[in-house]
């Protein structure tokens, strides 16, 4: 494995085979003042305009939501990431992450904005014609119009390519006639525009821009959802809907590229909003824990409550580290493009596609960490947590769909391994040769870096560095052995694929957390990094244990007998790690949270 000394373009998925340098990654500490200024303005908008009207939004008052969307347009939040040449503000992904942090208090309205700006606007920004942008983008940027995205159908969700909606060319060749049913359409109740996926001639997957008042469109009733009650979710029916041929988005037969690219973007966004939600869970539950008394003291004094608070913070730290690292990768590549070049948009899309593996990791790991946070926050509130009078209950319900939409976490787990294998087979990433070398090293007891028992490497956190390098090796070893055994039939072994994905995700999270901490120490000094270091160490300690258990179980599926014995021994050699006292460390983190009544720093 090589070390990255200077900044260069990092490939998607490369983290698994290359040990990165702390200075090569982007972290939250690298944000600039103007990014904070933008986030602060949007936070003020949310606090002054949206939060006071939360009840109107939650009761799905369409007039209120429309009015707030127009105001969101005035502030500029709808055009945050849209190129300046198209009337947007061309801001970086890292700014969008920071802005996302102000959205957590009103998830329904945030969801409306998220759908509008990602799957609603992205297809038109990146694949629309000049005329389409002129006609629609201005209205979408100002919030005058609200967009929705129609992909899912009653009989198909995850298998999006199986849609049955059809688009047939009219006799005069001027229109396509769309017929079909769509389900779970967010913003449907007040959308002015639908991006609709349909098959031309029943075969060619194509996206269309369809104005909502086109004759033949009808809406079904609002879904009676578990949460996000202020978000409109309805079926949309298309009965001989005539759409001008000028409204084809991109090319006929290539609509799935648009659909999947928009989803990639959405995945990254879910990952980022999840750490912000974790921080919110900490804030609301620590305040409650400091007030609630039991057995003569506040419940914040109890070890088990401290454990929960600390674990939420550790997870937020890890997810945030991954989110800014990934955003930095995307921003680095986007910054290197010339916005005036004719292929700027196509190349921008390629950048987003490049980091599809990382985006899927963000989505799965982030949404599950968020799930942990809302669950434990509710638990800290005890019986009151189960009451609608307290905020933990709504957060719990609102967070649940994050594990379902933008591709379920199951689908994304399959995708992570599938995309890595494709990159390995095409030679984009040298996973095959790295895998062969690792297997050779592991079995031959060759030059394998081991956790140095004598601490010959005196550099700080060298043990952690070696451990992370070995977590990568363990993940590749699993992937390599599974691929050897099942070859192309590996996709059928979903349990194994998901387990390998879990190991890869733990590795990305562990390395991102470690690198961010080291960068913080380098720039701010060790004294100012006490909590960064403690959170990194606890996270790493637990991540390696989770990885080891998953890997051991999975090896037993892949191999048996002597071969299994040898594999387990190799794994043990790789993951030698003396556990740290996580109780003391978590109490230290929790005490800081209790003192600040929020996440330990920011």
């Amino acid at each position: 494995m090589t070390s990255v000394a200077t900044k260069r373009m990092v490939q998607g998925g490369e983290f698994l085979i290359t040990d990165a340098n702390p200075n090569s990654i982007f972290t939250r500490d690298d944000l600039e003042e103007i990014q904070y200024q933008i986030a602060s303005a949007i936070k003020e908008f949310f606090e002054k305009e949206v939060i006071p009207r939360a009840e109107e939004v939650e009761s799905l008052n369409a007039d209120t939501i429309r009015e707030l969307m127009r105001k969101a347009g005035d502030v500029g939040v709808l055009g945050l990431e849209v190129p300046t040449a198209m009337g947007g503000y061309g801001q970086k992904k890292s700014t969008a992450l920071l802005v996302g942090e102000s959205h957590t208090k009103q998830s329904s309205f945030s969801g409306c904005i998220a759908v509008h700006t990602s799957v609603g606007m992205i297809p038109i920004v990146y694949f629309g014609t000049e005329a389409q942008r002129r006609q629609y983008l201005t209205k979408l940027l100002s919030g005058e119009w609200i967009a929705a995205y129609c992909l899912t159908e009653p009989h198909c969700g995850s298998d999006a390519m199986a849609i049955r909606t059809t688009a047939t060319l009219s006799e005069d060749g001027k229109h396509y006639i769309i017929n079909g049913s769509k389900m779970w359409i967010t913003n449907a109740g007040f959308a002015n525009l639908f991006n609709v996926a349909a098959k031309v001639d029943g075969k060619k997957f194509t996206m269309f821009i369809v104005e909502a008042d086109t004759p033949g469109i009808t809406l079904g009733a609002e879904e009676k959802k578990m949460g996000l009650t202020g978000s409109s979710t309805r079926p949309v029916f298309f009965d001989n809907v005539k759409v001008p041929i000028e409204n084809i988005l991109g090319e006929i037969g290539k609509g799935h590229h648009i659909a999947f690219n928009a989803l990639n973007m959405g995945r990254m966004n879910i990952g980022s909003s999840s750490y912000a939600q974790l921080k919110r869970s900490i804030s609301i539950s620590v305040k409650y824990a400091k007030l609630r008394k039991a057995f003569g003291k506040t419940i914040a004094d109890f070890g088990l409550i401290k454990h929960k608070l600390a674990e939420m913070a550790i997870k937020a730290y890890a997810v945030e580290s991954m989110a800014f690292r990934t955003a930095g990768l995307i921003d680095d590549q986007l910054q290197s493009l010339d916005p005036d070049s004719s292929d700027y948009l196509a190349r921008s899309m390629e950048v987003l596609r490049e980091y599809a593996i990382e985006s899927s990791i963000m989505k799965v790991y982030g949404s599950e960490a968020q799930g942990y946070g809302v669950d434990e926050a509710l638990q800290i509130f005890g019986g009151n947590g189960y009451s609608k009078e307290y905020p933990a209950e709504r957060d719990y319900r609102d967070a649940r769909p994050s594990r379902i939409f933008e591709g379920t976490n199951e689908i994304n787990r399959m995708l992570i391994v599938d995309m890595l294998i494709k990159r390995a087979m095409s030679g984009t990433l040298p996973i095959v040769s790295t895998g062969e070398q690792i297997i050779k090293d592991v079995y031959d007891t060759g030059p394998l870096p081991q956790i140095d028992p004598d601490q010959k490497d005196s550099s700080p956190f060298s043990k952690e560095k070696t451990l992370i390098s070995n977590m990568k090796k363990a993940s590749i070893m699993l992937l390599w052995q599974a691929a050897q055994k099942w070859m192309i039939a590996l996709a059928e072994e979903q349990e194994v694929v998901a387990a390998i994905s879990d190991c890869i995700m733990e590795t990305y999270a562990a390395e991102s957390t470690y690198l961010r901490t080291l960068k913080h120490i380098e720039t701010k000094g060790e004294e100012s990094s006490t909590y960064h270091i403690t959170m990194m160490q606890v996270f790493l300690n637990d991540a390696v244990m989770r990885l080891e258990i998953t890997a051991r179980k999975t090896l037993a599926v892949i191999a048996e007998g002597a071969e299994l014995g040898a594999s387990l021994k190799s794994l043990q050699r790789l993951l030698q790690w003396q556990p740290i006292n996580t109780v003391a460390a978590r109490r230290q983190i929790a005490d800081k949270i209790i003192d600040r009544e929020s996440y330990p720093f920011d």
């Binding site: 003042e33 103007i34 904070y36 200024q37 933008i38 602060s40 303005a41 003020e44 908008f45 002054k48 005035d74 502030v75 500029g76 939040v77 055009g79 945050l80 503000y89 801001q91 003192d595 600040r596 009544e597 720093f601």
Partner: protein
């Protein structure tokens, strides 16, 4: 109309405050700062007057590097430029000494109106605005709930908040200094467009060496002796007797405590 708005950065409303080692003030590390609330209203009032009469709005702030954020917020909302009085020797002075520094800068700038917030959310002295008016030699009005520029921009009519729901209208010639009360308008929030435009706006830095104030004049006349959290206490007293007697005793006691 040239309006100079003095803004101060204060610990944010939800900051967890801790007293420093010498009990002279709060610990300033690990705290988020915001623009002082009445100052935001002052900025808004200035921008509204500019929208009506034209002219220039200048944001002036005294404090360490971090106060640039407060100036930039004003610029993003639509102010034209900023002045940052930045010198460690000027931090932690009393209202009079800080007003001297500001008066010199503002006096040289020239102005039609100087706005300050009524008082700061941290010290709460409510002194800087009036001292500033005095030092600049212009009429001052405090606790303004409305500001109307009149007479072809020659005078200003101010609605002052008095006690018990009473107000006073007061007219004075320009130039003048006015301290603004919260709630007289609806402060706008910065937009992305405003933030982008503000990048090009000038913030002039002024240090003590740029000012001709003798060091003697900067010696604080006022000092905080000790900062402490109020001690929470609770005392219950049962008043004996029949309902009538107890009620009479209660009334006497409440009167003694000046609660009635």
């Amino acid at each position: 109309m040239k309006i100079i708005v003095c803004v101060k950065q204060v610990p944010s409303r939800d900051a967890i405050l801790r007293i420093n080692e010498t009990s002279s003030w709060i610990q300033d590390r690990d705290i988020a700062y915001d623009v002082n609330e009445p100052d935001s209203y002052a900025v808004e009032e200035a921008l509204k007057i500019k929208e009506k009469f034209g002219g220039e709005v200048v944001i002036c702030s005294l404090g360490p590097e971090r106060v640039q954020v407060a100036i930039k917020e004003g610029l993003a909302k639509g102010a034209d430029r900023g002045i940052h009085i930045c010198d460690p020797a000027l931090d932690n002075l009393d209202a009079l000494a800080q007003a001297r520094a500001m008066a010199e800068v503002i006096g040289k700038e020239g102005f039609d109106l100087v706005f300050t917030g009524l008082q700061s959310d941290d010290y709460g002295f409510a002194q800087t605005g009036v001292i500033l008016g005095e030092l600049l030699g212009v009429p001052s009005a405090t606790i303004a709930m409305a500001v109307e520029v009149q007479d072809g921009e020659k005078s200003v009519r101010v609605k002052r908040e008095l006690e018990a729901g009473w107000f006073q209208w007061y007219q004075m010639p320009l130039p003048a200094s006015i301290s603004i009360q919260s709630g007289l308008n609806q402060p706008r929030y910065a937009t992305l467009k405003g933030i982008m435009n503000a990048k090009k706006k000038e913030i002039r830095k002024v240090t003590l060496s740029d000012l001709s104030i003798s060091k003697d004049l900067l010696v604080p006349k006022q000092k905080i002796e000790r900062v402490y959290f109020p001690v929470k206490s609770k005392k219950t007293e049962i008043i004996d007797g029949s309902a009538k007697e107890a009620a009479a005793k209660l009334v006497t006691k409440l009167k003694q405590m000046r609660a009635l």
